[in-house]
Amino acid sequence: MGLFKTVTIRTPESIELDFVLAGVGSRAVALVVDYACLGLGLLGLAVIYSFLLVQLLSMESVLGLDSRTIQLWLTAIGSLLAFGLYVGYFVLFETLWFGQTPGKRYSKIRVIRDDGQPERLLQATLRSLLRPIDDFLFIGFFCILLTQPEKRLGDWLAGTLVVQTDPKTPGPVQVPERSQAIGKDLLGLIDITQLSPDDLATIRAFLQRRTTLSRQAQVQVSDHLARRYKDQLGLVTLPTEMTTDTFLEALYWAYQQQPQR
């Protein structure tokens, strides 16, 4: 696809894998979502920290400790935890979810190694440790924008790529029985091989997405596609009265009945 950069990775078994790079927009979205989650975590930490501080300070006389010591200890532990959360959030999620964090999952992207393997603890840690540097003055942003493989410093060091996850191929379209029967009739009337795989993809996309279209558009696109394929197949008269949707369903079903080539 022209708009998004792709990379081809050749595995040791000489299999070529194509990946679409994530793109700076998706990475920005992932960052926004992840930082929002992280911010909530840090906020929770801050609430617990201040709650503990107040409680411990009120017990000062019981514990027999100097209030400055308590404060120092608690602050030290709190800062360590905050740093741990900042680094650990990304390391943990990217390791456990094979290169994804909540933000990356939302924006449908994933971190992989340069050789196409899933990301492991080592890569996740390196990426995470360099994150503050990449965030500082948007260094990472400029690296992603200006380099061919769209890598930030952490990606260079860890040897990783950020790619789009495979779009989930939605399941096959359910064709009602009446449309199947019409499909059978159609097979006798037309040469279904005149439909290309691209045409089938268009019909399938319509059948899958029609419920999300506005009502008016549903009718319009259905009519448009039905006319186009009716002309393309040279159908003069239809076997029975039917709606354009039924016609498209029947075509879809009929195409599926071809022996696999």
Binding site: F4, G25, A28, V29, D198, T202, T212, S214, H224
Partner: protein
């Protein structure tokens, strides 16, 4: 087969990536248009100032105290017209950018001059749309404030009353105040964001759809964004994040730097001037990005709601989107 027309509905992140990519592909064209648009707006402003200042200055040499006021008022009227014309050109050229991006996206590229010629008769509509948007934003602001006041006030009073009865007046007052304020703020932001998202792509619609006028574009934007307010927010945030580095170089760094300069009128004036120029440069650079985002979003929404991508897969001869 035309690959771009198969794009179909996009992820929020991909909307921004695609917009950035299309912007970069014809960077010079967009930069020229953006600079021109900004100059028109600036020209309108300068015209306003000059048209007021010149008559006042000239007439006050005559020694009368009455004539300069009349001259100033006359200048104000004329200057306001200049400003209106400048803003109309600004909106129109912004529309041209959106149109070019959309045409590239559906593989029917247009040249900048062709798009400008096509949109020339719509100059008045662009100005009218700008005015309508201004009114809509004001209304949104009022509605959001009112909603916040009512919701926050009611809940705040209720909570305050409850806790006053349960504990005492101080706790009730504080709790009610804080919770009411938070709720009010939340309502305010949500309502404002919601309305802004619904009107976000109006100028792209006016530029792309041939038969649309200003009012029609507003309602079309309203209709297309119906189910996508949340996704538009994400797109908006991502685009905002991406323009930050540019603004950092042109706006934030200089103002930080200027803060350390010695306190001296000449230096101050010079730094203010440079700062103004740089921030203008920043807006020239980011304007096409926003227009591109609107155009790609328009394509995305039309694919989602109206199956535009399905119809474009084998474009029948002669359909104008």
């Amino acid at each position: 087969m035309n690959p771009a027309a198969q794009l179909g509905p996009l992820n929020p992140g991909d909307v921004v990536s695609a917009a950035l990519r299309l912007y970069r592909d014809r960077f010079k064209t967009y930069l020229k248009l953006s600079a021109l648009a900004t100059l028109w707006l600036l020209g309108g402003l300068v015209g306003l100032v000059l048209l007021i200042a010149l008559p006042v200055a000239m007439l006050s040499t005559l020694g009368s105290s009455f004539l300069p006021i009349i001259g100033g008022l006359g200048g104000l009227v004329l200057g306001f017209l200049a400003l209106l014309y400048g803003s109309a050109k600004y909106y129109q050229l912004s529309g041209v950018m959106g149109r070019l991006v959309f045409c590239d996206l559906v593989n029917r590229p247009e040249t900048a001059s062709a798009a400008q010629r096509l949109l020339a008769p719509k100059l008045g509509q662009f100005l009218w749309l700008g005015f309508l948007l201004f009114l809509a934003y004001m209304a949104a602001y009022l509605a959001a404030s009112l909603g916040a006041l009512i919701a926050g006030g009611a809940v705040g009073l209720l909570i305050a009353g409850m806790f006053t009865a349960l504990i005492n007046g101080t706790v009730g007052g504080i709790l009610g105040g804080i919770l009411g304020l938070m709720l009010g703020l939340g309502v305010f932001v949500l309502v404002l964001i919601w309305i802004l998202a619904r009107l976000f792509i109006a100028d792209a619609v006016l530029a792309i759809e041939a038969s649309q006028d200003a009012g029609g574009s507003l309602s079309r934007s309203w209709e297309l964004t119906q189910t996508s307010v949340w996704r538009i927010q994400i797109v908006f945030l991502a685009a905002f994040l991406i323009q930050l580095p540019i603004l950092m170089v042109t706006n934030y760094f200089p103002s930080l730097f200027f803060a350390f300069l010695p306190d001296n009128t000449a230096v101050l004036a010079a730094s203010q001037g440079i700062g103004l120029l740089l921030s203008l440069l920043g807006s020239v650079l980011t304007l096409p990005l926003w227009q591109a985002v609107k155009a790609v979003l328009y394509y995305d929404l039309r694919s989602r709601r109206e199956g535009l991508d399905l119809e474009l897969r084998h474009p029948p001869e002669q359909t104008n989107p």
